[in-house]
Amino acid sequence: MASLKDIKRHIVAVKQTQKLTRAMNMVAAAKLRSTQNRTERFRYYAEEHARLIQEIADRSPPDACSLLLPSESSRKVLILGITSDRGLCGSFNTNLCSHLDRQIVAQRKDGYEPELFLIGRKGRDYYNRRKVKIYSDLVGVTGSFDYVLAQKIAEALIEEYMAGNYREIYVMYTLFKSLSRFEVTFERFLPLGQEEETAPKAKSPAPGHDGSGKVDQDYVIEPKADVLLTRLIPRSLSIMIYRAMLESVTSENAARMQAMDNASKSCKDIIESLTMAYNKARQAAVTSELLDIVNGAEALKD
C-alpha cells in the first residue's frame, strides 16, 4: 500500500496532466473553428469545380488532354498520403496508415509497384521503418499552408505523370464529416475522367445535378471543350490537393480535440479514485493512531 505522501504526489501529477490536456483541447478547438470554416467554404467550390470538369470532359474527345488518358508506360503507382505533423490526436494517423497499408498490399497484388508521397511527419516516420519506396515527403507544412503550396505539389505530380513515370496517382486523406466522424478517403488524382471499379471508395456523386428529373444536357461550350479543358485541368488538380490538405487538417484538429477531451475525462476519473484511496489511507492512519492512544491509556489504567 502506497504511503499518504506517494498518493498525494500522484494526485498532483495527474492534476498537472489534466491542465495540459485541457489547454490542448482548447487550442485544438480554436484551430478547428478556423480550419473548419475554410474547409466548408472551399468544399462547395471544389465540388462545383469537379462537377464542371467532369461535364466538360464527358463532352470532349477522350484524347483532348493527355492528363485524361491512362498512362500504360509504367507499372508504378504513386499514392499521396496526408497525415499530421504532430501526435496526440487519437487514432487519426494510425487509421490513415493502416488504410494506406491495405492499399499498398492491394496494389502489389494487382502487380503494380506502389510508391508514396507523404505529407506530415507522422506518416513519414511510419513508412521510414517499412519496406515501401518513398518518392518524396513534406514535413512541417500542415500547420500553415496555402493554395500556392498545393499548386506546387500538383505541378510536380503532373510533371511526373506527363513524363510517364507513373501509371496512376492517388490521394489518400481523412475526410472531415462531422466533429466526431472522419473517413479515410482514397481518390484518384490522375488520370482524370471516369473512375473505374478499381477505386475502392469512389467519390460521392456530384451534388444536386444527378437524378432529380434533369435530362442529360448538351452544353454549348466556348471556346472548344478541349481548349477549355486544358485551361481548367491544372487548376482543378491544385484544387483537389488543397482540398485534401484542408480536410486532413480539419480532421486532425477535430481528432485532437476529441482525444484531449477523453484524456481530460480519464484524468478526472484517476483523480477521483486516487482521492478516494488517499482519504481511506488517511482515515486508516488516524484510526490506527487512535487505537494506539486508546490502547496506551488502557494499559496505564491497570
Binding site: E48, L52, I56, Y219, E222, P223
Partner: protein, 168 residues
C-alpha cells in the same frame, strides 16, 4: 410582375459570394466575348476574363461586381460562377491594384529578359540585382501575364466604378 427568374450562385475559394440569388439576367465577359444570359438559356459553359459581372435582381435593380477570372456554367434555371476572387465594386482598391500591377509588370519584364537570355540572346544584360534574384525564384511568365491582365482589369473596374450600374 411575373418575369422569369433564375438563380445566380457565385463561389470563390474563400467564400460563397452569392448563393441562389434570384435574378432576371446576368452579363459577363467570357473569354470569347461579352454575353448576357436570361432565364431559359441553353446550357452554356465558358471561362471568364477578369472584369465586371452585371446582374439584374428580382426588383429590376441592376448591380455589378468584379471577378478576377474563373468560369461560368449557365443552365436554364441557374447560373453558377466559379471565380478566383469576387469583390463588390466599392471594395475595389485602385491604389493597391496599381501597386500590384507595377510589381507584376516588373516581374514579367524580368521573366521575359531571362527567357531571351536562355534562348541565347547576347544583347540582354541583367542588372546585379536581377542576377541575384535569378537564383532565388523562378518567374512563371504565363502566370505573371495573367496577373498583369487581372490587375489592369481591376484598376479599370475601380476607376469606372460609377459608370457601371450598381446599387448605392
Amino acid at each position: 410582375m411575373c418575369a422569369k427568374l433564375f438563380k445566380l450562385t457565385v463561389v470563390t475559394p474563400d467564400k460563397c459570394f452569392f448563393k441562389d440569388l434570384p435574378v432576371l439576367s446576368v452579363g459577363a465577359f467570357g473569354s470569347e466575348g461579352y454575353f448576357t444570359a436570361l432565364p431559359g438559356h441553353i446550357p452554356f459553359l465558358t471561362d471568364l476574363k477578369p472584369g465586371p459581372v452585371t446582374y439584374k435582381d428580382a426588383e429590376n435593380v441592376v448591380d455589378t461586381f468584379f471577378v478576377s477570372g474563373g468560369f461560368v456554367e449557365v443552365l436554364p434555371e441557374e447560373v453558377t460562377i466559379l471565380a478566383d476572387a469576387a469583390e463588390k465594386l466599392h471594395d475595389l482598391d485602385a491604389e493597391r491594384a496599381e501597386k500590384n500591377l507595377i510589381k507584376h509588370q516588373e516581374r514579367l519584364a524580368e521573366g521575359r529578359k531571362r527567357a531571351r537570355l536562355q534562348e541565347g540572346d547576347k544583347t540582354v544584360k541583367l542588372t546585379p540585382e536581377e542576377e541575384a534574384r535569378i537564383q532565388r525564384d523562378k518567374i512563371d511568365i504565363v502566370a505573371e501575364e495573367a496577373k498583369v491582365i487581372r490587375e489592369m482589369a481591376r484598376i479599370k473596374a475601380a476607376r469606372n466604378r460609377n459608370k457601371y450600374p450598381h446599387k448605392h
